[in-house]
């Protein structure tokens, strides 16, 4: 078999092998079971709680959980706004990089707060090391918040009637110290060994083969890259992200980074199975996610490996597939592989330029973000899936002749209202955002010519991609878009904020309301959610809600581009 294909199979295999024990471990962490790392972390956690004046044993309602999450986020958001707009004179700025403009700082802060990490700047020239460290802290906080709130939802799904659902701060600290920190350390060490810089010194200068002197940007890259991958953050240290040779030096680091951008989202599903003792249901969820993911992966990989028909017609051989915008050290398959992983998990880091992908490869990336729950971001991916499960349970519950119930709780009008609003939100933000942008552009194509590197269908895809990426809190870009303008900074900032918090509030509210309801034990007339049939139903609901509502938009973007290439 083709070694490129073997490479991507190996990456998935390793992820799966590691995710199963990791899922158990995460389950234990959220279930407060003993682990062998307790000796190290118990004192550390106690220290944090003491400094923060937090009582980790105080049980919170779902509303208090949300409040705690929002307060943490607001506090750090204001702090990062301050750092980004004042970097120039603050310490740790050896390269004398300037402060950010207000709208760019807003976009950047929002983007890191929301786990999106859409970057309308280039790290090496746009940030000081203090700026980078602030953003790195955010990569921990936003990922930790996602995992903590997901732990609360797990807790709420237990077989009982309850209103107190654990302590948010405790879940949050445990996520950061016991899961993200150790994993990041391992990944960072591997990266450093393979040549990724880890220093606070300024630019290095080297003499090139031509005899010219060149300045090379460096900094605490390895630490930054590790958490960017693990926390489904995706914000790169350098502008080109993991396509940059110092962020991602070789095929081995590429494998490690690919694996780390995927491992926690999958492990969270297994953690769910462990925590609730519902292995079969966890497997069903994993099955649905994997089926969807594999479809996108295969579409993307085959399309990228087949190459570009226009180049074929010119009589040029493309034995390596479509290599435009890709790194030779990774190849077409591993790049398409990364693109699918990064868009399905709402990570958004890239090792190739998605703008240069074939139309179908680009569409697969778009679809991954439009669905946003084939694994999804850490914690929040599961929450997105939860919404679709509620919808699927409702329809299929009716189909077996019972008023719908999920894990022993009746689903009624209130839950349906919330679930529907959240399901609506994603298409609304993406389509409305793109519609406004298209309208503005069509109104005056000369004035806004700098927006689109490629007019026509591809230009449309670039705009669609930007909003999809913002709304999916993904952060990758079709970089043909000239996006550092007030319009894009502010529009995407608003979309990111709404798309981050509402899809957290919705499922948390549903889970909280359901948790307080009376528990109805299962009978033989109850719909079983841990079966392949239900899995199929859930997949169908996701396909119809998430994919079909984008069909007209995709037709005018990648599909039209595809048919004009192959006519």
């Amino acid at each position: 078999m083709n070694s490129e294909i073997l490479g991507i199979i190996a990456m998935y295999g390793i992820v799966l092998l590691l995710a199963i024990p990791l899922g158990r471990y995460i389950g234990k962490i959220f279930n407060y079971e003993n682990t062998w790392l307790d000796k190290v972390f118990n004192p550390l956690d106690r220290l944090f709680f003491k400094i923060g004046g937090i009582n980790p044993d105080r049980e919170m309602t779902w509303k208090q959980h949300l409040m705690a999450l929002l307060v943490i986020n607001l506090f750090w958001f204001l702090l990062s706004m301050f750092v980004l707009t004042n970097m120039e004179w603050l310490p740790l700025n050896p390269d004398k990089n300037p402060s950010m403009s207000g709208d760019l700082a807003f976009n950047t802060s929002v983007s890191f707060v929301t786990n999106t990490n859409l970057q309308h700047y280039s790290g090496e020239t746009g940030l000081s090391y203090l700026g980078q460290l602030t953003l790195m802290l955010w990569q921990f906080i936003s990922a930790g918040c996602g995992m903590a709130i997901c732990a609360m939802v797990f807790n709420a799904m237990k077989e009982r009637t309850a209103t107190s659902l654990g302590n948010f701060y405790s879940y949050f600290v445990r996520s950061c110290t016991r899961i993200l920190l150790p994993l990041s350390t391992i990944v960072a060490v591997i990266l450093v060994v393979n040549g990724t810089p880890m220093t606070f010194e300024g630019k290095d200068s080297i003499t090139t083969l031509e005899g010219k002197e060149q300045l090379v940007s460096r900094g605490p890259v390895a630490a930054f890259v590790a958490i960017k991958q693990l926390g489904t953050n995706g914000g790169g240290f350098y502008g080109p992200n993991s396509a940059h040779p110092m962020e991602n030096p070789n095929y081995l680091t590429n494998m490690v980074e690919t694996i780390s951008l995927f491992i926690i989202p999958i492990a969270m599903v297994f953690a769910f199975g462990y925590l609730l003792k519902r292995r079969k249901l966890a497997l069903t969820i994993y099955g649905v996610m994997t089926a969807g993911f594999l479809m996108l992966l295969m579409t993307s990989v085959t399309s990228e490996m087949r190459g570009n028909p226009l180049i074929d017609r010119m009589g040029i051989a493309q034995s390596m597939g479509s290599m435009e915008g890709k790194e030779v050290r990774f190849g077409a398959a591993a790049s398409a592989n990364w693109a699918t992983y990064t868009t399905c998990t709402s990570n958004g880091s890239v090792n190739a330029m998605h703008d240069s992908f074939t139309p179908i490869g680009g569409m697969a990336a778009l679809l991954g973000m439009m669905v946003n729950c084939f694994y999804g971001g850490v914690g929040v991916g599961f929450l997105n899936f939860y919404i679709f499960m509620i919808l699927a349970v409702f329809i299929s519950g009716l189909m077996v002749g019972r008023t719908p119930e999920f894990l022993g709780k009746k689903i009624e009008a209130k839950e349906m209202k919330i679930a529907m609003i959240i399901a609506l939100l994603h298409p609304l933000l993406i389509l409305a955002g793109t519609a406004i942008a298209s309208h503005v552009y069509t109104g005056n194509p000369e004035e806004y010519a700098s927006w689109l590197a490629n007019p026509g269908y591809h230009g449309f895809s670039e705009m669609l991609y930007e909003f999809t990426s913002s709304s999916a809190n993904n952060g990758s870009g079709f970089e043909g878009l000239g996006d550092n303008t007030p319009f894009w900074n502010i529009a995407c900032g608003i979309v990111m904020l709404m798309a981050r918090y509402l899809p957290i509030i919705g499922p948390v509210a549903i889970a909280g309301i359901l948790a307080a309801k009376k528990y109805v034990p299962e009978s033989s007339g109850t719909l079983k959610t841990d079966t392949a049939t239900f899995g199929f139903m859930a997949f169908a609901v996701i396909f119809i809600v998430a994919a079909l509502s984008f069909f007209p938009a995709l037709t005018l973007g990648p599909i039209a581009e595809y048919f004009s290439l192959y006519k």
Binding site: R402, K417, F536, A540, T555, F563
Partner: protein
């Protein structure tokens, strides 16, 4: 009355429904259904576009094409209205036929002076009777209003309501004191107090429910409406944002195309049939002769986890019957039968009568002189007869044993053994003694209804637990429970036991249904999630329950559960079908929208539809005619098969999900072949 109007579309009802379809176009009434309301807005816009074209506008395509779209949308609305109207008409017709019998019958009202009855009877029309009025009925009278017998006893022919021709006995006091308007008194004389205000009888309430005046959406219907409104909103977003997208790609899309795309994508099929499904559910209950007080009760019935059933009449036929005479040693069978018959001559209980029946005696003629009958009392726990110095006693084992041993006689071991044997088989032994000597044992047995075990098996597969309630001792109860196949039983049940059992099950989150008739059932009926009162029961019981069974048939609960499940399933499957249709509709309309400006998109036209116009028309036509095609299914309901939830889901997903994807591809293609002749 039963199973009348089995044809779905009776001509007179269709006529009535057709008229209603137009009346229901009124936006004020349509606004309750968000999906169809948006279709109506689309229809009005199309009408405006047609007018605009007539005024000289050229950018929107031909008048004929636009007008056709307008007509199809109008028909979509009319079809949906028709579905609701025909369901209403059928329900109303069924209720009307029940009501007709009781309209304007003359009533012999007893005039009152304050609280005191005057000895004066005045004949008034039944419609003037008020709650609390008292009337009398004599043989041949039609009872003018629902009421409660306060004096007397009568045989009544209830066939007008129940379809059962055997007359029933109703008497004052006790649990069988209720009479229903429209039924006929066959014998005797009764005095009845009116129990409902005019226009507020259960039937009146039911008619109001069906007619829509007081019809409220059930919680599940509300939740489903939210889901459908959500889908409608998604497609509003999809269609409105398409305009700037198209402008960017230099594609002009006509208003007709936008509206067609929108109407096709929103779930009009289920939206149009939703209320018809709900009404049809109540109507199906009515056809089973069950009056429901709300649509919610039917829906809840589908969710029932536990079913409380009285043993007598439900699981067993009526009362215990004598099945065997077992004479003691040294006593001939004749002697024993004679004694048994004599002891039962004056016994009015069903058990006593069954002894005569078993002995083959109709008019006992033993030439007994100077007989005194000894009545059953709670202390002696035996009854019997004294004649010519002989004392025959019949009663429970320990009571007779007591009598025999007190007199110093021996109680035969063989009889004790027989008694134990009968009890062990679920029977009830009655021991007979003459002059304090044991004569033998009469065996009484419960007769379990044929086919009841299969019905319980069916319920078990639905996930419903059945509980038998009986006054029997635990041993007998256990035997019958096992034989009939119920899951649990309450033995030696007192009224509060039922209540406690229901509460305990509800505490665990289960939904409980029960059937009852007596006043002391009323609290339990009210506590149960589905309480079905028998029509023959007391007013209190009927008020407490949320359904009334006109047939007084205790096995009716099983049918009610199935009706509830059918109702929910019909909603679920049609929703799935409706949404699955979108796949094909997308493939019909999306290429049609863009193909003129982007010819390479011909590749998306996988159905190879003739032209953009024909493609859009075919999709809209399919969308409209699928509604009348599915009306029969909406009215009859999707068949429920107790094959377990997962198998049921698989089956329905296959038929309505996969079917919903494939059918429109075929349908649209066929319609396109027809339409392509014109466009």
């Amino acid at each position: 009355m039963k199973n009348q109007n089995t044809t779905l579309f009776q001509p007179d009802l269709v006529k009535q429904a057709l008229k209603q379809s137009f009346v229901k176009l009124n936006p004020a009434s349509l606004v309750k259904n968000p999906v169809m309301f948006t279709v109506e807005i689309g229809t009005v816009i199309m009408l405006c576009v047609c007018a605009w074209i007539l005024a000289g506008e050229t950018s929107q395509g031909s008048f004929a094409y636009n007008f056709t779209i307008f007509l199809i949308l109008l028909f979509t609305l009319l079809f949906a209205n028709f579905a609701e109207a025909i369901a209403e008409a059928r329900g109303k017709a069924q209720a009307d036929s029940l009501r007709k019998t009781r309209e304007e019958t003359p009533a012999r009202k007893i005039e009152m002076l304050g609280e005191i009855f005057k000895d004066e009877v005045k004949v008034v029309p039944s419609s003037t009777l008020k709650k609390g009025d008292v009337f009398i009925c004599e043989p041949g009278d039609i009872i003018p209003m629902d009421g409660e017998i306060i004096e007397g006893l009568a045989t009544i022919d209830e066939s007008a309501i129940t379809g059962e021709s055997a007359p029933v006995i109703r008497e004052a006091g006790g649990d069988k004191s209720s009479v229903t308007g429209g039924t006929k008194v066959l014998s005797d004389y009764i005095k009845v107090r009116v129990s409902t205000e005019p226009g507020e009888s259960f039937l009146d309430k039911m008619i109001a429910l069906v007619e829509g005046a007081s019809r409220q959406k059930t919680p599940n219907e509300i939740a489903l409406t939210i889901l459908l409104a959500g889908f409608t909103l998604v497609f509003i977003i999809v269609c409105t944002t398409l305009q700037p997208f198209a402008a960017y790609a230099n594609v002009t899309i006509t208003i007709a195309s936008f509206i067609s795309l929108f109407v096709c994508l929103i779930p009009t099929t289920i939206g149009g049939l939703l209320s018809a499904i709900g009404i049809a559910g109540m109507d199906r209950a009515l056809r089973a002769n069950v009056i429901t007080k709300s649509g919610k009760a039917v829906e809840t019935a589908g969710d029932i986890d536990v079913l409380l059933l009285d043993k007598t009449g439900t699981i067993t036929i009526g009362n215990r019957k004598a099945t065997q005479f077992w004479p003691a040693e040294g006593v001939t069978r004749e002697e024993f039968v004679k004694a048994s018959v004599l002891s039962s001559v004056a016994d009015e209980t069903p058990e006593g009568k069954s002894i005569l029946e078993l002995a083959g005696v109709i008019n006992p003629d033993y030439n007994v002189k100077g007989a005194t009958f000894i009545k059953f009392t709670a202390e002696t726990r035996s009854s019997g007869i004294d004649y010519e110095g002989n004392r025959i006693r019949k009663g429970a084992y320990d009571a007779i044993k007591n009598i025999v041993e007190k007199a110093g006689n021996n109680f035969s071991k063989a009889i004790t053994q027989k008694v134990e044997e009968i009890s062990g088989n679920g029977g009830t032994p009655l021991v007979v003694s003459e002059n304090e000597k044991v004569l033998g044992v009469i065996e009484l047995q419960d007769i379990i209804k044929t086919g009841i075990a299969e019905r319980f098996e069916r319920l078990r597969k639905m996930g419903v637990k059945t509980v038998m309630v009986t006054g029997d001792n635990p041993l007998t109860a256990k035997f019958i429970a096992e034989k009939a196949g119920v899951d649990d039983f309450i033995a030696e049940a007192k009224p509060e036991d039922k209540m406690n059992y229901i509460k305990a099950e509800q505490q665990q989150g289960k939904l409980v249904a029960m059937m009852g008739d007596g006043t002391n059932d009323a609290p339990a009926l009210a506590q149960a999630d589905v309480g079905v009162a028998m029509n023959s029961g007391t007013q209190a019981a009927k008020e407490a329950g949320n359904m009334v069974d006109l047939d007084n048939d205790p096995t009716k609960l099983i049918e009610i559960v199935e009706i509830g499940k059918q109702l929910l399933m019909t909603r679920g499957t049609l929703t799935t079908f409706s949404i699955a249709n979108d796949v094909a509709k997308y493939f019909a309309i999306i290429p049609a929208l863009f193909i003129m400006a982007i010819p390479s998109l011909q590749g998306l036209n996988i159905m190879r539809l003739h032209s953009p116009e024909s493609a859009i028309l075919s999709a809209v036509i399919f969308n409209a005619i699928i509604i009348p095609f599915l009306i029969p299914l909406a009215l009859k309901g999707v068949a429920y098969k107790p094959i377990g939830a997962s198998a049921l889901l698989r089956r329905n997903l296959f038929i309505y999900g996969l079917g919903g994807v494939i059918v429109p591809f075929i349908g649209i293609k066929l319609i396109d072949m027809l339409v392509s002749v014109f466009f």
